[in-house]
C-alpha cells in the first residue's frame, strides 16, 4: 500500500463527470478528499490523497493524465518564503496537520512540507505574507 497526495486540475469540460469515483473503482483505491473547488469556466481543482497498491496508484494517475487532467504533487503547493518569515509562530496553533512547528530552542518556525494538507489557513494567517500557494 502506498499513499500519494496530489492536486488535480480538471478542465471545464470534465467537471460534470464522476471521474474520481470511476478512478477509485477501476483501480481499487481508497481516497480522502482534502480540498475541492469548482469554478467554471476555469475548471475544477481537487486535492486528494490516493491509497492503494503502488501499481494501481501509478496506473490511476496515468489514467487521469490521459483524461487531460493536470497532476501536481501536493507538497509543492504551499511554500514558506524564508526571507519573509519572521518566526513569530502565529501560524503554528492553526495548522491542522502539525506541518508548522516551532523549535523551542532557537524559536524558529519550521515548515514540514510532507505533512501539509494544503488547507491554506497559514496563508491567510501569516501577517508577513511568508506562506505562499503555488497552484
Amino acid at each position: 500500500m502506498i499513499s500519494r497526495r496530489v492536486v488535480l486540475h480538471f478542465p471545464s469540460q470534465l467537471i460534470d463527470q464522476p471521474i474520481l469515483s470511476n478512478t477509485v473503482r477501476r483501480y481499487n483505491l481508497d481516497f480522502n478528499i482534502l480540498k475541492a473547488s469548482i469554478a467554471p469556466p476555469e475548471g475544477g481543482l481537487l486535492v486528494v490523497e490516493l491509497l492503494g497498491a503502488q501499481k494501481d496508484v501509478q496506473e490511476a494517475l496515468s489514467y487521469l493524465k490521459g483524461l487531460k487532467i493536470e497532476i501536481q504533487n501536493l507538497s509543492r503547493d504551499i511554500t514558506m518564503k524564508d526571507d519573509a518569515c519572521v518566526h513569530c509562530g502565529v501560524c503554528v496553533p492553526l495548522c491542522p496537520s502539525e506541518a508548522l512547528v516551532v523549535d523551542h530552542a532557537d524559536w524558529h518556525v519550521e515548515f514540514i512540507a510532507d505533512k501539509c494538507v494544503a488547507c491554506e489557513l497559514c496563508v491567510k494567517a501569516c501577517p508577513f505574507g511568508a506562506m505562499e500557494v503555488r497552484l
Binding site: 519572521v86 518566526h87 513569530c88 509562530g89 502565529v90 532557537d106 524558529h108 491567510k124 501577517p127 505574507g129
Partner: protein, 407 residues
C-alpha cells in the same frame, strides 16, 4: 554607590563595560544574586519585534519646478493615500492606511495585502515607489499635477515617527464564540481554539524598566535597524495599570512614542503587515539599552517570563463591546510552552511578536554598544509614572442634536 550614565559611557569608550542581554541578565541574577549582578553588569539590552500600531513615516520630498503645494490636495504613494495637510511638500503616511480601491471587508475576511506599512517597507529597502499628486494651484505654487518615481535617497527627510509602540504587556486574545474571528491579534478559532499573545516577555523593553527609571524622553534606542529616540510617552500610556509585587504591570500599561531617521534603517526590522479581516500595520523592531545604575535596576532587569502575567481576553465579545471582563491571567512562561489552561480546556498558543527577532535585536544592540558605536543617554525628562495620576480614558460620547449637526 550607584553608577552614573557618564561612568558607564566612559567604561564603554574604554572597552571595559559589561553588556548583556535581558535574557542573559535573568540567568546571571538567578545564579549570583542582585548585588553581585549589579557589580558585574553595566548595561542590559532589550529587544522586541512585532506588528506595532500607530507607526508611520513623514517625508519632505523636495520642491518641484514649478512648485506644487500638496497641502489641501491629494497625494498617493504606490496608490496609498498620504496625509498632505501639513504644508507644501511634507507628507505623512500611516501604517494602517489602505488604497482607496482596496475592497476592505466587503467580502469578509478581507486580505489587506498592501497598505501603508508595505509602502514604508519598500521605501526603506531602497525601492523606487510612485508618487502621484494633484493640487489646486496657487500664485506661488502653480503646479496642479505630479506623477514621478520617488526614492528614499532623493528626499530631504525621511523620518519614522510612531506615536505608540513597545506596549508594556498586552492582552492574550481568545475566541469564546462558535465561529472563527479575524482580529488584529490574528485568526482566532472558535470555542477557545487558540490563544494569541504579543509581547517579547523577558526581552521586552518596558518590562525590564517597569517604573520608567531609565527609559525616558530623549533615550537613544535601536529603531528599525537604525538609531532612534524616545520622543514622548506613547498614546494610551497608562502607568496606573495594576502591577505585581515586583512592579510588573499585569495589563497593557506604558507605551513609547519613538522617532528616528528612516534613511539609516533596515527593512529587515520594518516590515509591512497584513492581518486578514483587520487591515495593515507595520512590524517594527525596537531595542532599548538599560543602564544598571543600582541594585534596583539589576533586580528589575532580572525579570523572567514566569514573573510576567498577561490577561486573557475574549475577542468575540468582551473586547469589541469594550467590557472589562478578563478570563484569567497567564504567565509568559506558560504561553511560551505552547499550551495554556483556560478552565478545563488546554488551548494552544501562538505568538505575534517574534522571539527570535527580539533576541537578534538585543544581540545586535549589545554588539553595537560593546563596540562603542552606541552610547547611553540620560533622559531629558521622565515618562509619567504611576504617581502621575494619568488614567486611561474611554471615549466620552455626547450625541449631537440634529439642528447643530446641520449647521
Amino acid at each position: 554607590m550607584p553608577r552614573t550614565i557618564q561612568e558607564i559611557n566612559n567604561k564603554l569608550k574604554a572597552g571595559k563595560a559589561v553588556v548583556v542581554t535581558a535574557e542573559e541578565m535573568t540567568g546571571i541574577v538567578r545564579k549570583k544574586g542582585v548585588e553581585k549582578a549589579y557589580q558585574e553588569v553595566d548595561v542590559v539590552t532589550t529587544g522586541t519585534f512585532g506588528p506595532m500600531c500607530s507607526s508611520g513615516m513623514y517625508l519632505n520630498v523636495g520642491h518641484t519646478k514649478p512648485r506644487i503645494k500638496l497641502g489641501g490636495g491629494t497625494c498617493l504613494l504606490n496608490g496609498v493615500p498620504v496625509y498632505t495637510g501639513i504644508a507644501a511638500v511634507d507628507i505623512f503616511l500611516g501604517a494602517a492606511q489602505l488604497p482607496a480601491d482596496d475592497p476592505r471587508n466587503k467580502i469578509h475576511p478581507g486580505e489587506f495585502r498592501y497598505g501603508g506599512g508595505h509602502v514604508i517597507e519598500e521605501f526603506v529597502s531602497g525601492k523606487d515607489i510612485v508618487l502621484e499628486a494633484s493640487a489646486y494651484g496657487t500664485d506661488c505654487y502653480p503646479r496642479q499635477e505630479l506623477k514621478s518615481w520617488l526614492n528614499i535617497k532623493d528626499v530631504n527627510e525621511a523620518v519614522l515617527f510612531n506615536v505608540r509602540n513597545a506596549y508594556q504587556n498586552y492582552n492574550v486574545a481568545v475566541n469564546l464564540s462558535d465561529k472563527a474571528i479575524y482580529t488584529y491579534l490574528g485568526i482566532l478559532k472558535p470555542k477557545l481554539g487558540n490563544a494569541n499573545y504579543c509581547s517579547a516577555g523577558v526581552l521586552s523593553p518596558l518590562l525590564n524598566d517597569p517604573l520608567y527609571r531609565t527609559i525616558g524622553i530623549g533615550t537613544r534606542i535601536f529603531l528599525g535597524g537604525g538609531v532612534g529616540f524616545v520622543s514622548w510617552q506613547g498614546t494610551q500610556h497608562n502607568p496606573a495599570a495594576p502591577r505585581t509585587e515586583r512592579e510588573v504591570p499585569t495589563r497593557g500599561a506604558g507605551t513609547l512614542c519613538v522617532i528616528g531617521d528612516l534613511k539609516g534603517m533596515d527593512a529587515r526590522y520594518l516590515r509591512g503587515v497584513s492581518m486578514t479581516g483587520y487591515g495593515t500595520s507595520l512590524g517594527v523592531g525596537i531595542g532599548i539599552p538599560i543602564p544598571i545604575l543600582d541594585e534596583e535596576m539589576a533586580f528589575f532587569t532580572s525579570v523572567a517570563d514566569e514573573d510576567i502575567l498577561a490577561p486573557i481576553v475574549d475577542y468575540s465579545e468582551a473586547y469589541p463591546q469594550a467590557k472589562p471582563d478578563v478570563l484569567g491571567e497567564v504567565s509568559y512562561k506558560e504561553l511560551r510552552d505552547g499550551k495554556i489552561k483556560i478552565g478545563n480546556k488546554e488551548v494552544p498558543t501562538g505568538a505575534i511578536s517574534s522571539l527570535s527577532q527580539a533576541r537578534e535585536i538585543a544581540q545586535v544592540l549589545k554588539e553595537r554598544i560593546e563596540k562603542g558605536e552606541f552610547l547611553l543617554t540620560q533622559p531629558v525628562e521622565r515618562l509619567p509614572g504611576k504617581e502621575a495620576g494619568i488614567t486611561f480614558k474611554a471615549f466620552h460620547e455626547r450625541p449631537v442634536e440634529q439642528s447643530r449637526r446641520q449647521r
